[in-house]
Protein backbone atom coordinates (compact mmCIF):
# COMPACT_ATOMS: atom_id res chain seq x y z
CA UNK A 1 0.00 0.00 0.00
CA UNK A 2 1.32 3.34 -1.02
CA UNK A 3 -0.88 6.26 -0.20
CA UNK A 4 0.33 9.75 0.50
CA UNK A 5 -1.69 11.31 3.28
CA UNK A 6 -2.60 14.93 2.97
CA UNK A 7 -4.75 15.94 5.90
CA UNK A 8 -4.80 19.58 4.90
CA UNK A 9 -7.54 18.80 2.33
CA UNK A 10 -9.91 18.80 5.29
CA UNK A 11 -9.49 22.48 6.04
CA UNK A 12 -8.22 23.92 2.77
CA UNK A 13 -10.67 25.07 0.12
CA UNK A 14 -14.30 24.58 0.91
CA UNK A 15 -13.97 21.29 2.77
CA UNK A 16 -14.50 22.75 6.23
CA UNK A 17 -17.57 24.60 5.06
CA UNK A 18 -18.97 21.44 3.46
CA UNK A 19 -18.34 19.30 6.52
CA UNK A 20 -20.07 21.88 8.69
CA UNK A 21 -23.02 22.05 6.32
CA UNK A 22 -23.22 18.28 6.20
CA UNK A 23 -23.09 18.11 9.98
CA UNK A 24 -25.92 20.63 10.30
CA UNK A 25 -28.06 18.76 7.77
CA UNK A 26 -27.41 15.48 9.56
CA UNK A 27 -28.38 17.03 12.90
CA UNK A 28 -31.48 18.69 11.49
CA UNK A 29 -32.58 15.54 9.70
CA UNK A 30 -31.91 13.33 12.71
CA UNK A 31 -33.59 15.67 15.20
CA UNK A 32 -36.80 15.97 13.18
CA UNK A 33 -36.87 12.25 12.41
CA UNK A 34 -36.21 11.50 16.09
CA UNK A 35 -39.20 13.58 17.20
CA UNK A 36 -41.38 11.74 14.71
CA UNK A 37 -39.95 8.37 15.74
CA UNK A 38 -40.48 9.00 19.45
CA UNK A 39 -44.06 10.21 18.91
CA UNK A 40 -44.92 7.21 16.73
CA UNK A 41 -43.00 4.89 19.06
CA UNK A 42 -44.82 6.02 22.19
CA UNK A 43 -48.18 5.87 20.47
CA UNK A 44 -47.77 2.45 18.87
CA UNK A 45 -45.80 1.04 21.81
CA UNK A 46 -48.62 2.01 24.17
CA UNK A 47 -51.30 0.76 21.78
CA UNK A 48 -49.65 -2.65 21.63
CA UNK A 49 -50.36 -3.11 25.33
CA UNK A 50 -53.92 -1.74 25.64
CA UNK A 51 -56.78 -4.12 26.37
CA UNK A 52 -58.53 -3.44 23.04
CA UNK A 53 -57.75 -5.83 20.17
CA UNK A 54 -58.29 -3.65 17.03
CA UNK A 55 -55.88 -0.98 18.32
CA UNK A 56 -53.36 -3.65 19.25
CA UNK A 57 -53.61 -5.16 15.77
CA UNK A 58 -53.18 -1.77 14.12
CA UNK A 59 -50.03 -1.12 16.15
CA UNK A 60 -48.65 -4.60 15.43
CA UNK A 61 -49.19 -4.15 11.68
CA UNK A 62 -47.42 -0.80 11.72
CA UNK A 63 -44.42 -2.15 13.63
CA UNK A 64 -43.98 -5.35 11.67
CA UNK A 65 -44.49 -3.72 8.30
CA UNK A 66 -42.14 -0.80 8.78
CA UNK A 67 -39.31 -2.40 10.72
CA UNK A 68 -39.02 -5.44 8.44
CA UNK A 69 -38.40 -3.59 5.19
CA UNK A 70 -34.90 -2.12 4.65
CA UNK A 71 -34.52 1.59 5.30
CA UNK A 72 -33.11 2.15 1.80
CA UNK A 73 -36.39 0.91 0.33
CA UNK A 74 -38.32 3.32 2.55
CA UNK A 75 -36.16 6.22 1.36
CA UNK A 76 -37.02 5.43 -2.26
CA UNK A 77 -40.64 4.83 -1.32
CA UNK A 78 -41.14 8.25 0.27
CA UNK A 79 -39.17 10.09 -2.41
CA UNK A 80 -40.22 8.27 -5.58
CA UNK A 81 -43.38 6.45 -4.57
CA UNK A 82 -45.44 9.01 -2.66
CA UNK A 83 -45.16 12.33 -4.60
CA UNK A 84 -46.80 10.97 -7.81
CA UNK A 85 -49.98 10.53 -5.77
CA UNK A 86 -50.21 14.34 -5.46
CA UNK A 87 -51.42 16.73 -8.17
CA UNK A 88 -48.68 17.96 -10.51
CA UNK A 89 -48.46 21.59 -9.23
CA UNK A 90 -48.15 20.30 -5.65
CA UNK A 91 -45.37 17.95 -6.76
CA UNK A 92 -43.48 20.77 -8.45
CA UNK A 93 -43.83 22.95 -5.38
CA UNK A 94 -42.49 20.15 -3.20
CA UNK A 95 -39.57 19.38 -5.51
CA UNK A 96 -38.61 23.06 -5.48
CA UNK A 97 -38.76 23.14 -1.68
CA UNK A 98 -36.55 20.32 -0.51
CA UNK A 99 -38.81 17.31 -1.08
CA UNK A 100 -35.82 15.01 -0.64
CA UNK A 101 -35.14 16.31 2.85
CA UNK A 102 -38.72 15.82 4.02
CA UNK A 103 -38.95 12.42 2.37
CA UNK A 104 -35.84 11.45 4.32
CA UNK A 105 -37.29 12.79 7.59
CA UNK A 106 -40.47 10.77 7.13
CA UNK A 107 -38.64 7.63 5.97
CA UNK A 108 -36.24 7.74 8.90
CA UNK A 109 -38.89 8.74 11.45
CA UNK A 110 -41.47 6.15 10.47
CA UNK A 111 -38.90 3.36 10.23
CA UNK A 112 -37.31 4.13 13.59
CA UNK A 113 -40.74 4.79 15.11
CA UNK A 114 -41.52 1.13 14.50
CA UNK A 115 -38.29 0.08 16.19
CA UNK A 116 -38.74 2.59 19.03
CA UNK A 117 -42.19 1.16 19.57
CA UNK A 118 -40.72 -2.18 20.65
CA UNK A 119 -38.40 -0.44 23.08
CA UNK A 120 -41.30 1.39 24.65
CA UNK A 121 -43.47 -1.70 24.74
CA UNK A 122 -40.74 -3.55 26.64
CA UNK A 123 -40.66 -0.67 29.14
CA UNK A 124 -44.40 -0.76 29.61
CA UNK A 125 -44.47 -4.53 30.00
CA UNK A 126 -41.76 -4.45 32.63
CA UNK A 127 -44.11 -2.51 34.89
CA UNK A 128 -46.13 -4.88 37.11
CA UNK A 129 -49.67 -5.26 35.82
CA UNK A 130 -50.97 -4.40 39.29
CA UNK A 131 -49.96 -0.77 38.78
CA UNK A 132 -52.35 -0.45 35.87
CA UNK A 133 -55.07 -2.25 37.83
CA UNK A 134 -54.47 -0.02 40.84
CA UNK A 135 -54.74 3.13 38.69
CA UNK A 136 -58.00 2.00 37.20
CA UNK A 137 -59.27 1.08 40.68
CA UNK A 138 -58.44 4.65 41.75
CA UNK A 139 -60.95 5.83 39.16
CA UNK A 140 -58.62 6.75 36.30
CA UNK A 141 -59.67 5.96 32.74
CA UNK A 142 -57.34 3.74 30.65
CA UNK A 143 -56.04 6.83 28.83
CA UNK A 144 -55.36 8.63 32.10
CA UNK A 145 -53.68 5.57 33.57
CA UNK A 146 -51.30 5.45 30.58
CA UNK A 147 -50.67 9.19 30.52
CA UNK A 148 -50.19 9.70 34.25
CA UNK A 149 -48.83 6.41 35.55
CA UNK A 150 -47.66 3.87 32.98
CA UNK A 151 -45.87 5.99 30.35
CA UNK A 152 -43.95 8.27 32.74
CA UNK A 153 -42.54 5.21 34.49
CA UNK A 154 -41.91 3.30 31.25
CA UNK A 155 -40.05 6.23 29.67
CA UNK A 156 -37.72 6.42 32.65
CA UNK A 157 -37.03 2.70 32.38
CA UNK A 158 -36.15 2.64 28.68
CA UNK A 159 -33.46 5.31 28.59
CA UNK A 160 -30.59 2.87 27.82
CA UNK A 161 -32.24 1.00 24.89
CA UNK A 162 -33.83 4.29 23.78
CA UNK A 163 -30.37 5.87 23.58
CA UNK A 164 -29.18 2.92 21.57
CA UNK A 165 -32.02 3.32 19.12
CA UNK A 166 -31.46 7.08 18.86
CA UNK A 167 -27.79 6.57 18.00
CA UNK A 168 -28.83 4.11 15.31
CA UNK A 169 -31.17 6.71 13.91
CA UNK A 170 -28.40 9.30 13.78
CA UNK A 171 -26.08 6.96 11.91
CA UNK A 172 -28.82 5.70 9.60
CA UNK A 173 -29.48 9.27 8.49
CA UNK A 174 -26.54 8.72 6.11
CA UNK A 175 -28.81 6.57 3.92
CA UNK A 176 -30.53 9.83 2.90
CA UNK A 177 -27.67 10.53 0.50
CA UNK A 178 -29.26 7.99 -1.87
CA UNK A 179 -32.05 10.46 -2.50
CA UNK A 180 -29.65 13.40 -2.84
CA UNK A 181 -29.81 14.87 0.67
CA UNK A 182 -26.47 16.60 1.26
CA UNK A 183 -25.80 15.26 4.75
CA UNK A 184 -22.49 14.47 6.40
CA UNK A 185 -21.60 11.29 4.50
CA UNK A 186 -22.57 12.97 1.24
CA UNK A 187 -20.19 15.82 2.02
CA UNK A 188 -17.29 13.50 2.86
CA UNK A 189 -17.80 11.94 -0.57
CA UNK A 190 -17.89 15.43 -2.02
CA UNK A 191 -14.48 16.17 -0.54
CA UNK A 192 -13.24 12.92 -2.01
CA UNK A 193 -14.53 14.00 -5.42
CA UNK A 194 -12.75 17.34 -5.26
CA UNK A 195 -9.49 16.22 -3.73
CA UNK A 196 -9.26 12.50 -4.57
CA UNK A 197 -8.32 12.00 -0.91
CA UNK A 198 -10.82 9.37 0.18
CA UNK A 199 -9.19 8.14 3.37
CA UNK A 200 -8.83 11.63 4.85
CA UNK A 201 -12.43 12.48 4.02
CA UNK A 202 -13.78 9.22 5.42
CA UNK A 203 -11.70 9.61 8.58
CA UNK A 204 -13.10 13.09 9.13
CA UNK A 205 -16.65 11.78 8.67
CA UNK A 206 -16.01 8.85 11.00
CA UNK A 207 -14.59 11.07 13.73
CA UNK A 208 -17.52 13.47 13.50
CA UNK A 209 -20.05 10.63 13.83
CA UNK A 210 -18.04 9.18 16.70
CA UNK A 211 -17.88 12.47 18.59
CA UNK A 212 -21.59 13.11 17.99
CA UNK A 213 -22.60 9.67 19.22
CA UNK A 214 -20.27 9.79 22.22
CA UNK A 215 -21.68 13.17 23.24
CA UNK A 216 -25.23 11.93 23.00
CA UNK A 217 -24.37 8.76 24.91
CA UNK A 218 -22.73 10.82 27.65
CA UNK A 219 -25.68 13.16 27.97
CA UNK A 220 -28.11 10.26 28.03
CA UNK A 221 -26.08 8.50 30.73
CA UNK A 222 -26.59 11.59 32.89
CA UNK A 223 -30.28 11.67 32.08
CA UNK A 224 -30.48 8.01 32.99
CA UNK A 225 -28.84 8.55 36.39
CA UNK A 226 -30.99 11.56 37.12
CA UNK A 227 -34.28 9.88 36.30
CA UNK A 228 -33.52 6.41 37.62
CA UNK A 229 -36.40 5.24 39.81
CA UNK A 230 -35.25 4.15 43.28
CA UNK A 231 -36.26 0.56 43.86
CA UNK A 232 -36.72 -0.18 40.17
CA UNK A 233 -33.35 0.42 38.52
CA UNK A 234 -31.36 2.63 40.89
CA UNK A 235 -29.59 -0.51 42.16
CA UNK A 236 -27.44 -0.53 39.00
CA UNK A 237 -25.12 2.44 39.17
CA UNK A 238 -23.85 3.16 35.70
CA UNK A 239 -20.47 4.73 35.17
Amino acid sequence: MRYTFNWSVLWSGQSGHWLLQGLLTTLELSALAWLLAVALGILSGALRTVPFTPLRLAAISYVEFFRNVPLLVWMFFWYFGVPPLLPRPAQDWLFDHGAEFWAAVVALGVYHGARMSEVIRSGIQSIPRTQFEASVAMGLTTFQAYRLIILPVALRLIVPPGTNESLNLLKNSSVALTISVAELTFQTRQIETYTAKAIEALTAGTLIYLVLCLSIATIMARVERHYAIPGLISRTRTT
Binding site: R88, D92, T178, R189, E192, A196, A198
Partner: protein, 285 residues
Protein backbone atom coordinates in the same frame (compact mmCIF):
# COMPACT_ATOMS: atom_id res chain seq x y z
CA UNK B 1 -13.51 5.33 27.96
CA UNK B 2 -10.56 7.70 27.57
CA UNK B 3 -8.16 4.76 27.27
CA UNK B 4 -10.09 3.42 24.31
CA UNK B 5 -9.98 6.82 22.67
CA UNK B 6 -6.23 7.04 23.15
CA UNK B 7 -5.84 3.58 21.66
CA UNK B 8 -7.94 4.48 18.64
CA UNK B 9 -6.02 7.70 18.08
CA UNK B 10 -2.79 5.73 18.32
CA UNK B 11 -4.00 3.36 15.60
CA UNK B 12 -4.96 6.26 13.34
CA UNK B 13 -1.63 8.00 13.86
CA UNK B 14 0.39 4.82 13.30
CA UNK B 15 -1.57 4.15 10.14
CA UNK B 16 -0.91 7.67 8.91
CA UNK B 17 2.78 7.59 9.72
CA UNK B 18 3.58 4.13 8.40
CA UNK B 19 1.89 4.22 5.02
CA UNK B 20 3.98 6.73 3.03
CA UNK B 21 7.25 5.06 3.96
CA UNK B 22 6.46 1.92 1.95
CA UNK B 23 8.20 1.16 -1.33
CA UNK B 24 7.40 2.40 -4.84
CA UNK B 25 4.77 0.32 -6.62
CA UNK B 26 5.90 -2.22 -9.18
CA UNK B 27 2.77 -3.57 -10.76
CA UNK B 28 4.56 -5.49 -13.52
CA UNK B 29 6.55 -7.42 -10.91
CA UNK B 30 3.30 -8.23 -9.12
CA UNK B 31 1.64 -9.41 -12.34
CA UNK B 32 4.68 -11.46 -13.25
CA UNK B 33 4.33 -13.31 -9.96
CA UNK B 34 0.57 -13.83 -9.99
CA UNK B 35 -0.12 -14.03 -13.72
CA UNK B 36 -3.19 -11.87 -13.13
CA UNK B 37 -3.98 -8.30 -14.11
CA UNK B 38 -6.86 -7.10 -11.93
CA UNK B 39 -8.93 -4.30 -13.39
CA UNK B 40 -11.52 -2.18 -11.63
CA UNK B 41 -14.43 -1.61 -13.95
CA UNK B 42 -18.20 -1.09 -13.98
CA UNK B 43 -21.17 -3.44 -14.10
CA UNK B 44 -23.68 -0.82 -15.17
CA UNK B 45 -22.03 1.59 -17.61
CA UNK B 46 -22.94 0.36 -21.08
CA UNK B 47 -21.32 0.27 -23.52
CA UNK B 48 -18.02 0.77 -21.66
CA UNK B 49 -18.42 -1.99 -19.13
CA UNK B 50 -21.60 -3.76 -18.13
CA UNK B 51 -23.20 -7.13 -17.61
CA UNK B 52 -25.17 -8.01 -20.73
CA UNK B 53 -28.32 -10.08 -21.22
CA UNK B 54 -26.31 -13.31 -21.30
CA UNK B 55 -24.80 -12.39 -17.94
CA UNK B 56 -21.37 -11.70 -19.48
CA UNK B 57 -19.25 -8.82 -18.27
CA UNK B 58 -18.39 -6.99 -21.51
CA UNK B 59 -17.88 -3.54 -23.01
CA UNK B 60 -15.68 -1.21 -25.01
CA UNK B 61 -13.21 -0.59 -22.19
CA UNK B 62 -13.01 -4.28 -21.40
CA UNK B 63 -12.29 -5.02 -25.07
CA UNK B 64 -9.55 -2.38 -25.04
CA UNK B 65 -7.97 -4.05 -22.01
CA UNK B 66 -8.27 -7.59 -23.38
CA UNK B 67 -7.25 -6.91 -26.97
CA UNK B 68 -4.77 -4.03 -26.65
CA UNK B 69 -3.46 -3.72 -23.08
CA UNK B 70 -3.23 -7.41 -22.26
CA UNK B 71 -0.87 -8.38 -25.15
CA UNK B 72 1.35 -5.41 -24.32
CA UNK B 73 1.53 -6.30 -20.61
CA UNK B 74 2.18 -9.95 -21.51
CA UNK B 75 5.11 -8.82 -23.64
CA UNK B 76 6.44 -6.72 -20.75
CA UNK B 77 6.29 -9.52 -18.17
CA UNK B 78 7.18 -12.33 -20.58
CA UNK B 79 4.31 -14.68 -19.74
CA UNK B 80 0.64 -15.26 -20.38
CA UNK B 81 -1.68 -13.44 -18.02
CA UNK B 82 -5.33 -13.53 -17.05
CA UNK B 83 -7.62 -10.52 -16.67
CA UNK B 84 -9.68 -10.39 -13.50
CA UNK B 85 -12.52 -7.87 -13.20
CA UNK B 86 -13.80 -6.14 -10.09
CA UNK B 87 -16.57 -3.61 -9.66
CA UNK B 88 -15.31 -0.10 -8.91
CA UNK B 89 -17.56 2.94 -8.53
CA UNK B 90 -16.49 6.61 -8.57
CA UNK B 91 -16.16 6.84 -4.77
CA UNK B 92 -14.33 3.51 -4.40
CA UNK B 93 -12.02 3.40 -7.40
CA UNK B 94 -9.05 5.39 -6.10
CA UNK B 95 -9.04 3.61 -2.73
CA UNK B 96 -9.22 0.24 -4.54
CA UNK B 97 -6.23 1.22 -6.61
CA UNK B 98 -4.08 2.56 -3.79
CA UNK B 99 -4.87 -0.43 -1.58
CA UNK B 100 -3.65 -2.78 -4.34
CA UNK B 101 -7.06 -4.42 -4.66
CA UNK B 102 -6.95 -3.60 -8.37
CA UNK B 103 -4.08 -2.69 -10.72
CA UNK B 104 -5.85 -0.67 -13.39
CA UNK B 105 -9.07 1.32 -13.38
CA UNK B 106 -10.66 0.72 -16.75
CA UNK B 107 -14.12 2.22 -16.67
CA UNK B 108 -15.35 5.70 -17.40
CA UNK B 109 -12.94 7.79 -15.36
CA UNK B 110 -12.20 11.32 -16.50
CA UNK B 111 -8.56 12.35 -16.50
CA UNK B 112 -8.39 15.52 -14.34
CA UNK B 113 -5.47 17.50 -12.89
CA UNK B 114 -6.71 16.84 -9.31
CA UNK B 115 -6.88 13.11 -9.88
CA UNK B 116 -3.39 13.21 -11.38
CA UNK B 117 -2.14 14.15 -7.93
CA UNK B 118 -3.28 10.74 -6.68
CA UNK B 119 -3.01 8.45 -9.70
CA UNK B 120 -1.41 8.26 -13.15
CA UNK B 121 -3.49 8.12 -16.32
CA UNK B 122 -2.93 6.26 -19.57
CA UNK B 123 -3.41 7.83 -23.00
CA UNK B 124 -6.96 9.13 -23.48
CA UNK B 125 -9.05 6.30 -24.90
CA UNK B 126 -12.34 8.14 -25.22
CA UNK B 127 -13.38 11.77 -25.44
CA UNK B 128 -16.76 13.22 -24.51
CA UNK B 129 -18.24 16.17 -22.62
CA UNK B 130 -21.14 17.08 -20.37
CA UNK B 131 -24.60 17.47 -21.89
CA UNK B 132 -28.19 17.16 -20.65
CA UNK B 133 -30.78 14.42 -20.95
CA UNK B 134 -34.32 15.86 -21.08
CA UNK B 135 -37.82 14.78 -22.00
CA UNK B 136 -38.53 15.43 -25.69
CA UNK B 137 -39.96 18.95 -26.12
CA UNK B 138 -38.33 20.30 -22.95
CA UNK B 139 -37.45 24.03 -22.94
CA UNK B 140 -33.90 23.09 -21.95
CA UNK B 141 -31.55 23.05 -24.94
CA UNK B 142 -28.22 23.53 -23.22
CA UNK B 143 -26.28 25.04 -20.37
CA UNK B 144 -27.83 28.50 -20.92
CA UNK B 145 -31.34 27.28 -20.14
CA UNK B 146 -30.86 25.55 -16.81
CA UNK B 147 -30.78 28.57 -14.48
CA UNK B 148 -33.28 28.02 -11.66
CA UNK B 149 -34.11 24.53 -12.94
CA UNK B 150 -33.75 21.32 -10.97
CA UNK B 151 -30.91 19.34 -12.46
CA UNK B 152 -29.81 15.87 -11.38
CA UNK B 153 -26.17 14.83 -11.49
CA UNK B 154 -24.20 11.84 -10.41
CA UNK B 155 -22.20 12.42 -7.27
CA UNK B 156 -18.48 12.19 -7.86
CA UNK B 157 -18.79 13.31 -11.47
CA UNK B 158 -16.81 16.30 -12.74
CA UNK B 159 -19.88 17.97 -14.27
CA UNK B 160 -21.61 18.31 -10.89
CA UNK B 161 -18.58 20.27 -9.76
CA UNK B 162 -18.70 22.58 -12.79
CA UNK B 163 -22.39 23.29 -12.28
CA UNK B 164 -21.91 24.04 -8.59
CA UNK B 165 -19.01 26.40 -9.20
CA UNK B 166 -19.99 28.17 -12.42
CA UNK B 167 -23.78 27.97 -12.41
CA UNK B 168 -24.83 28.39 -8.78
CA UNK B 169 -28.41 29.32 -9.79
CA UNK B 170 -29.03 25.72 -10.77
CA UNK B 171 -30.86 23.63 -8.19
CA UNK B 172 -28.47 20.72 -8.18
CA UNK B 173 -29.61 17.30 -6.93
CA UNK B 174 -26.83 14.77 -6.68
CA UNK B 175 -27.58 11.06 -6.71
CA UNK B 176 -25.10 8.29 -5.97
CA UNK B 177 -26.05 6.28 -9.02
CA UNK B 178 -27.46 6.64 -12.50
CA UNK B 179 -30.71 4.64 -12.09
CA UNK B 180 -31.89 6.86 -9.22
CA UNK B 181 -31.07 10.03 -11.17
CA UNK B 182 -32.88 8.73 -14.25
CA UNK B 183 -35.88 7.75 -12.13
CA UNK B 184 -35.96 11.28 -10.72
CA UNK B 185 -35.95 12.66 -14.27
CA UNK B 186 -38.64 10.27 -15.47
CA UNK B 187 -40.93 11.24 -12.56
CA UNK B 188 -40.31 14.96 -12.73
CA UNK B 189 -38.36 15.35 -9.46
CA UNK B 190 -35.82 17.07 -11.74
CA UNK B 191 -36.09 18.82 -15.13
CA UNK B 192 -32.85 17.50 -16.61
CA UNK B 193 -30.11 15.03 -15.89
CA UNK B 194 -26.55 16.02 -16.68
CA UNK B 195 -23.67 13.69 -17.30
CA UNK B 196 -21.12 12.95 -20.00
CA UNK B 197 -22.86 12.90 -23.37
CA UNK B 198 -21.96 9.29 -24.01
CA UNK B 199 -23.46 8.19 -20.69
CA UNK B 200 -26.69 9.96 -21.59
CA UNK B 201 -26.71 8.43 -25.07
CA UNK B 202 -26.35 5.06 -23.34
CA UNK B 203 -29.24 5.74 -20.97
CA UNK B 204 -31.40 6.88 -23.85
CA UNK B 205 -30.59 3.76 -25.89
CA UNK B 206 -31.47 1.56 -22.91
CA UNK B 207 -34.67 3.38 -21.87
CA UNK B 208 -37.97 1.56 -22.42
CA UNK B 209 -38.91 4.16 -25.00
CA UNK B 210 -35.77 5.88 -26.40
CA UNK B 211 -37.78 8.32 -28.53
CA UNK B 212 -39.11 10.05 -25.42
CA UNK B 213 -35.67 11.41 -24.57
CA UNK B 214 -33.22 13.86 -26.08
CA UNK B 215 -29.55 14.45 -25.39
CA UNK B 216 -29.09 18.23 -25.77
CA UNK B 217 -26.48 20.98 -25.53
CA UNK B 218 -22.87 21.54 -26.52
CA UNK B 219 -20.16 19.99 -24.34
CA UNK B 220 -19.87 22.35 -21.35
CA UNK B 221 -16.95 20.35 -20.00
CA UNK B 222 -14.21 18.24 -21.52
CA UNK B 223 -14.12 14.66 -20.40
CA UNK B 224 -11.13 12.71 -21.65
CA UNK B 225 -11.40 9.16 -20.32
CA UNK B 226 -8.19 7.47 -19.25
CA UNK B 227 -7.24 4.28 -17.45
CA UNK B 228 -5.88 5.02 -13.99
CA UNK B 229 -2.86 3.41 -12.36
CA UNK B 230 -0.96 3.76 -9.10
CA UNK B 231 1.14 6.88 -9.15
CA UNK B 232 4.81 6.67 -10.03
CA UNK B 233 4.78 3.26 -11.70
CA UNK B 234 6.43 4.30 -14.97
CA UNK B 235 7.09 0.77 -16.28
CA UNK B 236 3.49 -0.31 -15.94
CA UNK B 237 2.24 2.94 -17.46
CA UNK B 238 4.59 2.45 -20.42
CA UNK B 239 3.20 -1.05 -21.00
CA UNK B 240 -0.43 0.13 -20.86
CA UNK B 241 0.24 3.13 -23.13
CA UNK B 242 2.15 0.97 -25.63
CA UNK B 243 -0.91 -1.26 -25.93
CA UNK B 244 -3.23 1.66 -26.59
CA UNK B 245 -0.77 3.33 -28.99
CA UNK B 246 -0.53 0.13 -30.95
CA UNK B 247 -4.33 0.15 -31.19
CA UNK B 248 -4.37 3.69 -32.61
CA UNK B 249 -1.50 2.90 -35.01
CA UNK B 250 -2.91 -0.36 -36.34
CA UNK B 251 -6.51 0.85 -36.53
CA UNK B 252 -7.64 -1.88 -34.13
CA UNK B 253 -8.89 0.84 -31.77
CA UNK B 254 -11.23 2.21 -34.47
CA UNK B 255 -12.56 -1.26 -35.24
CA UNK B 256 -13.48 -1.67 -31.60
CA UNK B 257 -14.99 1.83 -31.57
CA UNK B 258 -17.14 0.91 -34.56
CA UNK B 259 -18.22 -2.33 -32.87
CA UNK B 260 -19.60 -0.52 -29.80
CA UNK B 261 -20.44 3.01 -31.02
CA UNK B 262 -21.08 2.53 -34.73
CA UNK B 263 -24.57 2.69 -36.25
CA UNK B 264 -25.16 -0.95 -35.30
CA UNK B 265 -23.33 -0.73 -31.99
CA UNK B 266 -24.75 -0.91 -28.50
CA UNK B 267 -24.91 2.90 -28.26
CA UNK B 268 -24.62 4.82 -31.54
CA UNK B 269 -22.20 7.70 -30.90
CA UNK B 270 -20.26 8.55 -34.06
CA UNK B 271 -16.64 9.59 -33.78
CA UNK B 272 -16.45 13.24 -34.88
CA UNK B 273 -13.41 14.38 -36.91
CA UNK B 274 -12.34 16.68 -34.04
CA UNK B 275 -12.38 13.85 -31.52
CA UNK B 276 -10.56 11.51 -33.90
CA UNK B 277 -7.87 14.16 -34.49
CA UNK B 278 -7.56 14.66 -30.72
CA UNK B 279 -7.06 10.94 -30.11
CA UNK B 280 -4.49 10.55 -32.90
CA UNK B 281 -2.56 13.65 -31.83
CA UNK B 282 -1.61 11.79 -28.64
CA UNK B 283 0.40 9.28 -30.65
CA UNK B 284 2.00 11.92 -32.83
CA UNK B 285 -0.19 11.72 -35.91
Amino acid sequence: MSRILVLMLAVVVAFGAAAPSLAQPDTLEKIKGSGVLTIGTRTGSPPFAYVNKNNEWVGFTIDLVEQLVKPSVEKAVGRQIKIEKKESTPPTRIPLLTSNAVDLIAGTMTDTPQRRESVDFSLTFFYTGAQFLVKKGSPIHGINDVSGKRVAAQQGATNAKILREKYPQVQLREFPDQPAAFQALAQGQVDAYTNDGIQLAGLKAKAPNPNEWDVVGDFYSEEPYGMAMRKGDAKFKAAVDAGLKNGFDSGKYFELYEKWFGPKGEVPYPLTPQVKAYLLKQVGK
